[in-house]
């Protein structure tokens, strides 16, 4: 099977990175997990500019690795929807900690007040994200953060929320 790779070691962190440690897979998981996206078109237009062939390959690998599954559209059998598996939604704590870390230490588009609330209520966030997945609640938990409008060149590097 082409998608199988020889493991570098038995270390769980190493194995995690073999599963989704590239620049795109975790963004697809993010789109499925908190944005409510389910279709190829939505992932493609998600804002980071993934190439079509790369998206196809990443989705194929995520399915092969048991993180994502496909379902036929109930009304239009030719349309495919993607959905996280239980193994996939179990990455919610990793995703949350990544989100909080970057919003604290990097200049991001995430509103600091929201980040502080999420940091103070991690358990609640994880319960709610998991509930929406389980109940197939289509309401996105987070919408894409709006970029601040930049007028010309940035004056100085802004730091994170921390």
């Amino acid at each position: 099977m082409v998608l199988k790779m020889r493991r570098r070691s038995g270390c769980p962190v190493s194995i995690s990175l073999e599963r989704f440690g590239d620049r795109w897979s975790l963004l697809i998981i993010r789109d499925l997990m908190v944005r409510g996206y389910t279709t190829f078109k939505q992932f493609k237009e998600s804002g980071e500019g993934i190439a079509t062939n790369v998206l196809t390959a990443r989705l194929k690998r995520l399915v092969a690795e048991g993180l994502v599954e496909t379902e036929r559209d109930a009304r239009d059998g030719r349309r495919l929807h993607y959905r996280l598996t239980e193994k996939g939604i179990a990455l919610a704590p990793v995703m949350l900690e990544l989100l909080l870390w970057a919003s604290r230490y990097e200049e991001t588009a995430a509103p600091c007040e929201l980040m502080e609330q999420m940091a103070a209520h991690r358990e609640h966030v994880l319960v709610e994200v998991t509930r929406r997945w389980k109940e197939r609640d289509p309401e996105p938990f987070l919408r894409p953060f709006k970029e601040k409008v930049k007028s010309g060149r940035r004056e100085k590097k802004r730091s994170g929320c921390g």
Copy 2:
């Protein structure tokens, strides 16, 4: 500066992945964070088989991004030691959740009993890992997990600890 990349979006998860979302950077962070490794040689021999030129490039990027800093050896000024910055050690929750996720859903070399203890005492783990960093305690928090000896071909895919 060669190391700067144009950001794909303001999403914190996307920005995280630009920082260390490759197959090697997070393993170097792991070595620094829990194995007590501080030198190029130790990272090189860490078990996953990273190429020398790739390791050099990754370390350079981690330093440029403020996750890792270098220090001269107190006794031998030609020797360099690497150390996580505050921004780097703040990735401990991400690392812990990755470790727990993989040990639960993948076949890894991590002992299940230890993983269960760590999952039950996340806060304690994070406090202790951060304390060792702060106090420059050289005692590794975790040593590399021993691979189970495999006699010939694997009989069947073993699942994780979950």
